[in-house]
């Protein structure tokens, strides 16, 4: 026996050492998964030390009634057993505590719990010294009770013990409950009493009780019974938000519409504290408002408490597949939300298999799936369903009554389905329903109206309607195939136009006049002519016509064999590699009109752009050089100052053949593409040099003295 006791005492010491060690180095601790079940046995084992500590107390109390020898034997046995269970419980509790986030309550429970384990060990050590032993025993008893209470707080909630006594606060509000006490006063408590209470009575007003409210404040009474409009509390709500007298003050939570309505109507009704829904006429506005508030408050009190059990984790796991995700809303809640995806792969089993967890599903999302009417009978078995999304499914609403067992349904989404106004008859079944989504369905305006009348509490989402808004402007037509072709075209090449919105007409002119909805409609590709400008506009019924978009096309130039740039482009637009490539200036591709694309050209700031074009061994005749550039004066991108063309057959000795200076701008120009043409007598040179100089920003732009940017995206030769 003694041997066993020693063994046990050693084991307790050992366990306590581990515990101490873990507590000291808690921040480093990482409990491996295989130890978690041990931690989770804490709630099971903890009952031993609690009961045993009490037994020790009783034993100590009844010492005189037990024979000395037996007493000592029992005491030794009990002590060691208590110590063993207490230290194990504490250690398991420590493991368990590492699983969840550390609240203050948990920390306190951990330390008091560990305290019990240590105290019991102290008892074992001091068993021979009666006076110390009894003192420690009393402390141990107290600590055990306290630690146990804290632990109960963790599992059942801190107000678990006294909850039945305080239940009056959360009791169900009924038609007999006085409206003031149950609905109005809580609003005051929530939104007013923060500043108007017995400690902090701003404006000499205390709203912490009915009697004190009646006394009023420095500006008089809070309300005038029967006359809400003259009541201070109502008047102040309607003052502008930034008015000093507006209540609740700016920045504080304001009264919601329903709260305001309730207070207003209750005052209007006579501000009678005994008034309840039961003694109101049904026609009274207060009757319906109070009913809404009552339902809301009762619902809020019940919210998020589920009475059903957890589903088997293996079942949940098994139900998850790529087409279906099934998850508990949190690990701590048995409630499950399920989503099914991908229309093309939907099979009815995806839904029926969920019956395995029919009790736990509170949210089901089957948006855009081919769900048929007959499948609602499956969904109808999910009795705890709160949110159901059937937007874009094939249902017609005929079988909506199959859902009648889903009495907890709060949110029902049926948009973009074929449901008709006849769903009115079935909706009455869903007592908890708060919102319904029914836009883009067969229900027309009259149907919406009757629905709203029949279910005044229901929030009905009718969706966005463009009817009340001024019509929108269409997007401008775009060039078809624009990615491949762009604005540079060969003669007789086809030009296509397209609009992003199906059913849009594209009208166009090629004579320079402004097109409108009466201009010819684009039906087939237009054949390109040199220098053609096509003005287009998109029009469609119930839309405003787009802006007029002129498309100026550029004729393809003569192919340059190779080209070199002699001056370094600015790096402020993009990084320039050491051997920058001039190809982008002779590739017959330009930026989209009015849209600067960095890699289509080069920018120069201050320094001129100088390019040499090699026309190859058999040069064609050239009589024009055309430079395409971009203008956006706001970001200092201006036209070039001067373009000079040199020519010759020796690369190192070229002579000036012509120059041209674009007309200087006199006002802001934003996001625009432009061309400058340098003409000269026909030449047959092999080499041409083009020098494009930048200018000093003109005075009118307000940026006196700055050097402008020039952005050139192509140099054409004709």
């Amino acid at each position: 026996m003694i041997q066993l006791q020693k063994l046990v005492a050693g084991f307790i010491f050992f366990t306590l050492c581990i515990l101490t060690f873990l507590l000291v180095f808690e921040s480093y601790v990482d409990i491996p998964k295989w130890l978690w079940p041990l931690g989770r046995m804490h709630p099971l084992v903890l009952h031993f030390p609690v009961a045993l500590v009490f037994l020790l107390g009783i034993l100590s109390f009844s010492k005189s009634k037990i024979e000395e020898k037996s007493y000592e034997g029992i005491q030794q046995f009990l002590l060691h057993f208590t110590g063993l269970t207490a230290s194990l419980t504490a250690l398991m509790g420590f493991f368990l505590s590492q699983e969840s986030s550390g609240s203050d309550l948990l920390a306190l429970h951990k330390w008091t719990g560990a305290g019990v384990a240590y105290l019991v060990y102290v008892l074992i050590l001091t068993v021979d010294k009666r006076s110390i032993y009894n003192g420690v025993l009393i402390i141990t008893l107290g600590t055990t009770v306290y630690a146990g209470h804290l632990g109960a707080g963790l599992t059942h909630g801190t107000n678990f013990l006294l909850e039945p006594l305080m239940a009056s606060e959360q009791k169900e509000i009924t038609a007999e409950s006085p409206i003031y006490e149950n609905m109005v006063a809580p609003i005051f408590a929530k939104k007013c009493a923060g500043c108007h209470n017995s400690e902090k009575h701003k404006g000499e007003l205390d709203m912490s009780s009915y009697a004190k409210i009646l006394k009023g404040g420095e500006d008089g009474f809070v309300w005038e019974a029967g006359n809400a409009d003259k009541s201070e509390i109502i008047k102040r709500h309607f003052l502008p938000l930034d008015d000093d007298h507006h209540m609740p003050p700016e920045g504080k939570p304001q009264l919601t519409d329903i709260e305001l309505a309730l207070i207003y109507q209750w005052i209007e009704n006579g501000a009678d504290t005994s008034r309840s829904i039961a003694n109101l006429e049904e026609t009274d506005t207060l009757f319906s408002t109070a009913n809404v508030v009552m339902n809301q408050m009762n619902l809020a009190n019940h919210k998020a408490k589920y009475e059903f059990d957890f589903a088997d984790q293996d079942v949940i796991k098994g139900l998850n597949n790529p087409n279906r995700s099934v998850n508990q809303i949190t690990p701590a809640s048995p409630a499950i939300s399920a989503n099914i995806y991908v229309r093309a792969r939907y099979q009815k089993e995806f839904l029926t298999e969920l019956l395995e967890i029919s009790e736990q599903i509170i949210s089901l999302n089957m948006v855009n799936l081919p769900i048929e009417d007959d499948e609602l009978s499956v969904i109808g078995q999910f009795v705890n369903l709160e949110k159901l999304i059937l937007n874009g499914t094939n249902i017609t609403g005929k079988t909506l009554s199959d859902l009648k067992a889903c009495t907890k349904l709060k949110s029902l989404a049926l948009s973009s389905t074929k449901v008709t106004a006849s769903i009115n008859n079935d909706l009455a079944e869903f007592k908890s329903l708060e919102e319904i989504f029914i836009w883009n369905t067969e229900i027309d305006k009259a149907g919406f109206k009757s629905l709203a009348e029949q279910f005044p509490q229901l929030e009905i989402f009718l969706g966005y309607s463009s009817a009340d808004e001024p019509p929108l402007k269409l997007d401008i037509p775009s060039i078809g195939d624009s990615n491949k072709k762009g604005r540079v075209r060969g003669v007789n090449e086809e030009i296509n136009f397209e609009s992003n919105l199906p059913g849009t007409n594209i009208h166009f002119t090629i004579d320079g006049s402004e097109p409108d909805s009466t201009s010819p409609i684009y039906k087939e590709p237009i054949l390109f002519n040199a220098g053609m400008v096509i003005k287009t506009i998109a029009c469609k019924e119930s839309w405003l016509c787009s802006d007029v978009k002129p498309y100026s096309f550029i004729t393809q130039g003569i192919q340059v064999d190779t080209a070199y740039i002699l001056t370094r482009p600015s790096e402020s637009y993009h990084k320039i590699t050491k051997d920058f490539d001039a190809t982008r200036l002779i590739d017959q591709a330009v930026c989209e009109e009015g849209n600067l694309t960095h890699d289509k050209g080069f920018a120069y700031i201050g320094e001129p752009l100088i390019m040499i074009a090699d026309m190859g061994a058999k040069p064609k005749q050239i009589e024009q050089v055309v430079v395409s550039y971009f203008i956006n004066t706001g970001s200092v991108v201006f036209p070039p100052k001067k373009i000079t063309v040199y020519g010759g057959n020796n690369k190192n000795n070229l002579t000036v053949i012509a120059n041209f200076s674009p007309t200087p701008l006199t006002k802001e120009v934003s996001y625009s593409s432009s061309l400058a043409t340098v003409s000269f007598e026909k030449q047959n040179f092999r080499y041409y040099k083009v020098k494009i100089e930048t200018l000093i920003v003109p005075k009118w732009s307000g940026r006196t003295g700055e050097v402008s940017d020039v952005f050139v995206d192509e140099i054409f030769f004709y």
């Binding site: 010491f13 986030s101 948009s415 997007d475 839309w543 956006n632 200092v636």
Partner: protein, 484 residues
Amino acid sequence: MEDEFLEHRYNINRRHFLGKIGLGLGSAALSATLLPKLFDGIGGGEQEALAGVTHFAPKAKRIIMLFQNGAPSQLESFDYKPLLNKMYDQDLPESIRQGQRLTGMTSGQERFPLVGSIFDFKQHGQAGTWVSDLFPNIAKITDDICVIKSMHTDAINHDPALTFMQTGSQIGGRPGMGSWLSYGLGSENENLPAFCVLLSKGQGNGQGVYSKLWSNGFLDSMHQGVKFSASEDPVLYLNNPDGMSKDERRIMLDQLSLLNQMNYEKFGDPEIITKIKQYEMAYRMQTAVPELTDMSKEPDHIIKLYGSDCLTPGTYAANCLLARNLSESGVRFVQLYHQGWDQHANLVGDMPGQALDVDRASAALITDLKQRGLLNETLVIWGGEFGRTNYCQGTLSETNYGRDHHPKAYSIWMAGGGVKAGMSHGETDEFGYNIVKDPVSVHDLHATILHLMGLDHEKLTYKHLGRRFRLTDVEGEIVKDILA
């Protein structure tokens, strides 16, 4: 005899002592096995995040981030500062600037003339939120959004600020926010990537976005963001090549998977497993993606809601519509970037165009989510990487001005999942320069976003190179005031 007894007792005590010491040491050694981090500095045991397990009840299930890349001016959008109009062309008082560092672009300026918004502001909605006339449609939904006017960041240039906002660190290499969420919450719909990225570009002065912003960093590469292409074919190379049937593709993938599996058994590289998974997902995407990117079935009123450019692939509006589809189908994090908000000069010329690009579609997204019953479970965030200065950069004229980067205060807005609607949080001083009430740092924002998604930002960690990394590094306070 006596001595022998004494000796015996000593012995007992010594044995007892050594025994106890042994027990104590033994227990220490045993418990040390539970503290791998204490003795093992390198840390072998990699803790796996429990994908799909939230730390507490989430308010939002999905995020759509409408990132306004380049930093839109708060002074022309949501932070109304009439004093700046009154003090037009007067110098920024040093008492306000307080030696704040400036970018190289304006630090050489001789003076810092204040300039107020050229665009008018009005109050909108029940909450009386100030919105400039550039955003008429966002103005209509102010009762659904929460404007934070007191954002501030650590970086003053685009790349670090953008990287900070997206990954929680100014230096690249960390996982993006979407990757963290994919890691922490897993995928809702395994037919699609959990993290999708959509790009668009306005005409204004632009700044680049780089794939490091949606990189998985040190996380498994299955958490990487997938960039959708701005063309009619949003996911490139998703379709089977001509002449290959679906069945053939399936057989090919099965065989490829076997080969990869063999390789994995040989080398044990987890990236090989990721690769197998990605091929599988791509196969499933072949069916799932066309359903989502087909906009032809959208009813006319939805087209009108987003504006007609929502049918032009690659526009912001088209991306908003696509984002709605992706989010509705369970994509955890949809990240939009709209480039072109860097108005150093020509703000008056550039900003209306940028606003026109995003105003209607941003508001439409909120309205559309709401009418689908999705707004309360989807968190939408709109904003840039920093703010803009209250003084003019470059030449100030009656009709035009520019603004430099300003990290000390800027505005963003959030809507939906768990965020209080119809409120403004935080305040800046009358100059719109410093925050005077409720500052919100980027780490705070991240902490709040994770909180709304049901994750504790201090617990969502990943061990890499010997330390545990968090999205919020070692900072971040949840902004409780904006939680619904």
